[in-house]
């Protein structure tokens, strides 16, 4: 089904935020990605039509941004930060765990299609390094134990309670520590 039919109201809402239609491009690329897990050429063509752009104009924007997937990725996209601040706290070790436990390196997907690993640049969580993002969620202050639990939980439940809530670090002195 076409995006414009399935998400008519949401698209109208997005378009209503901007005086110039092209501004809705990234939001619509996200919408297409939510639907298929990546942005297909067909989706880009449809978005071009919606925004009165040419397909190359859509492609030109889509290819600039790393969060727009032009290829299918695994069900769980592990994005481990490798920038200096995380590296100082051991992010290379985290990438090593992925290799040992899942058998994939950066840019690879497990054969069951469950996990894709990307080594990414800074995700703004340097005080709680090492960290990774899995789909929409952050997982911070990773240890081998928490990492193992995240993998088990993701496979079993599709999510994990170790994911970060509203961020504050250090936590206020009397805040309730989340169970780890």
């Amino acid at each position: 089904m076409k995006l414009s039919e399935k998400y008519r109201d949401e698209i109208a809402d997005i378009l209503g935020r901007y005086p110039v239609r092209r501004s809705a491009l990234i939001p619509l690329l996200y919408l297409a990605q939510r639907e298929e897990g990546f942005v297909s050429e067909a989706a880009m063509k449809e978005i071009a039509g919606l925004l009165r752009l040419t397909p190359p104009q859509v492609y030109e924007t889509a290819t600039f941004y790393t969060m727009i997937n032009l290829k299918r990725v695994g069900k769980f996209h592990l994005q481990v930060c490798k920038s200096l601040m995380c590296a100082l706290a051991g992010s290379d070790t985290v990438i090593g765990w992925v290799k040992t436990k899942l058998g994939i390196g950066p840019g690879e997907t497990t054969s069951d299609g469950l996990f894709t690993l990307s080594a990414v640049e800074c995700l703004a969580a340097c005080g709680t390094a090492p960290m990774m993002q899995v789909n929409e969620d952050y997982y911070e202050r990773l240890t081998e134990d928490t990492f193992d639990r995240i993998l088990v939980d993701l496979k079993r439940d599709g999510t994990c309670s170790l994911k970060s809530g509203p961020f504050m670090w250090p936590e206020p002195a009397n805040a309730v520590r989340r169970e780890t």
Binding site: Y30, K82, S83, L84, M85, G127
Partner: protein, 435 residues
């Protein structure tokens, strides 16, 4: 370390505070909006912000009130406010906390700024990865709209200010204000030539102000308690107020700390952040995000204000302080940051696009012990051909790690190359030669 007052963190430091509209109101929130909107002329609001001495918290440190004052007075068409929430500078993680823990503080700042500059639309351009922050902000906007703080006819004054969240999609360069505008227009995030500046030709070519999250979050406090109060905090007259310093790396207690500007790095690292993680001596620190040149233990008594850090040869930048202990290989550290800049170069300007690639290749060669002494000259030559030769400040930032580590830890580069040369000599010995 003298005790000080929290401004931006005051609410979120309270036990159980979760940042809802009711909690924010109970803590005195939206009082500045009641007091100023429709009651005090916009020009006076701008004047108050000028008097406070508030400078941009995103990195460049430009005086906020002056920036607002650049908007053309007689322009009749639409004007825009863009809140720069594209927090991507390695070492920086403060805006995320300000948005997720006290979203209404930011929203009140945004609406007051819209009023001051005459903008009816504001976009919060938030980095794409911060999905939780985007959801929290969207909910907060909905609640504030229902309470009459956002939308048409705010608090019955007839004044309009709409606020939308716009998610970026993973490009560091979009934190540069003109790249942010391009991205918000649905294009690749390539910085624009300046001038013209966004104040006259910004979003959709209309007068636009782009301010960082932390900058805008200060506005309700400045207006509510007066510019003189704000100007007395920190390191007046040029660095007023507090900063949220983000401490990362080899310290015992990394995290976000709101401190008055003007405390020293020694105080921040050894008292506030608990000192070195393994009690090894400090070797190096980055004072203001990845774009700021590295500093050494000799600079520990430098004060954390705009002028002092600049005088020490670096910059206060985004307030991200990254600490490295003795034993950290500095060429490796510079390479890590160089890989970041190589990955994030937008590709618009040849010196940066090509140069960052050459820099990464040369640095990788040196770290892999395949370098030669000439590589050091090549590095400097490349850096000098990038610095100052690009449309935006990215080029200058990209060369900072290499230039500053070459300045203070040149011997580590030399050692790696000497080891490479020694290994080569052994290889070049003719077969069968006697050892």
């Amino acid at each position: 370390m003298p005790k000080h007052e929290f401004i931006l963190f005051k609410n979120m430091m309270q036990p159980g505070y979760a940042g809802s509209l009711q909690e924010y109101e109970r803590a005195g929130g939206y009082q500045a909006l009641h007091k100023f909107i429709g009651k005090v002329p916009p020009a006076e609001v701008t004047m108050a912000v000028m008097k406070s001495g508030l400078r941009g918290r995103g990195g460049a440190g430009f005086p906020t009130g002056v920036k607002w004052g650049f908007l053309p007075k007689d322009y009749q068409g639409p004007r825009y406010l863009c809140c720069n929430a594209d927090e991507s500078e390695p070492g920086t993680f403060k805006d995320r906390q300000l948005m997720e823990r006290d979203p209404h503080q930011l929203l009140e700042g945004i609406v007051l700024t819209c009023y001051a500059i005459g903008a009816e639309s504001a976009y919060i351009y938030i980095r794409g990865e911060l999905i939780l922050a985007a959801k929290i902000l969207e909910q907060a906007i909905e609640d504030a709209r229902a309470a009459g703080y956002i939308g048409a006819n705010i608090l019955g004054t007839g004044i309009t200010a709409n606020v939308w969240v716009h998610r970026g999609a993973g490009a560091y360069i979009c934190g540069e204000e003109t790249a942010l505008l391009e991205s918000l227009e649905g294009k690749r995030g390539l910085p624009r030539f300046k001038p013209p500046f966004p104040a006259t030709h910004g979003l959709y070519n209309k007068p636009t102000v782009v301010n960082n999250v932390e900058t805008l979050a200060n506005i309700p406090h400045i207006l509510g308690r007066g510019p003189e109060w704000f100007a007395s905090i920190g390191s007046p007259p040029k660095s007023t107020g507090t900063r949220v310093f983000c401490v990362s790396g080899h310290v015992k207690r990394p995290g976000n700390y709101e401190m008055p500007m003007g405390i020293s790095f020694r105080e921040l690292i050894y008292e506030v952040a608990g000192g070195m993680r393994s009690d090894k001596p400090l070797k190096a620190f980055i004072p203001g995000g990845a774009s700021a040149p590295f500093l050494t233990p000799d600079h520990l008594d430098v004060k954390l204000d705009f002028e002092s850090v600049a005088a020490a040869g670096s910059m206060l930048g985004s307030g991200g302080v990254t600490v490295m202990e003795e034993g950290t290989p500095m060429v490796w550290a510079a390479l890590r940051l160089m890989e970041f800049f190589y990955h994030e170069s937008c590709g618009k300007c040849s010196p940066c696009r090509e140069g960052s690639s050459w820099l990464v290749q040369t640095m990788r060669r040196i770290v892999a012990k395949r370098g030669q002494m000439e590589d050091l000259e090549t590095l400097v030559d490349l850096c000098k051909n990038i610095e100052g030769r690009t449309v935006c400040a990215f080029g200058d930032a990209a060369v900072a790690p290499i230039m500053s580590t070459l300045k203070y830890w040149r011997s580590e580069y030399v050692t790696l190359i000497q080891e490479a040369e020694a290994a080569n000599l052994i290889k070049l010995e003719p077969a069968g030669a006697k050892r």
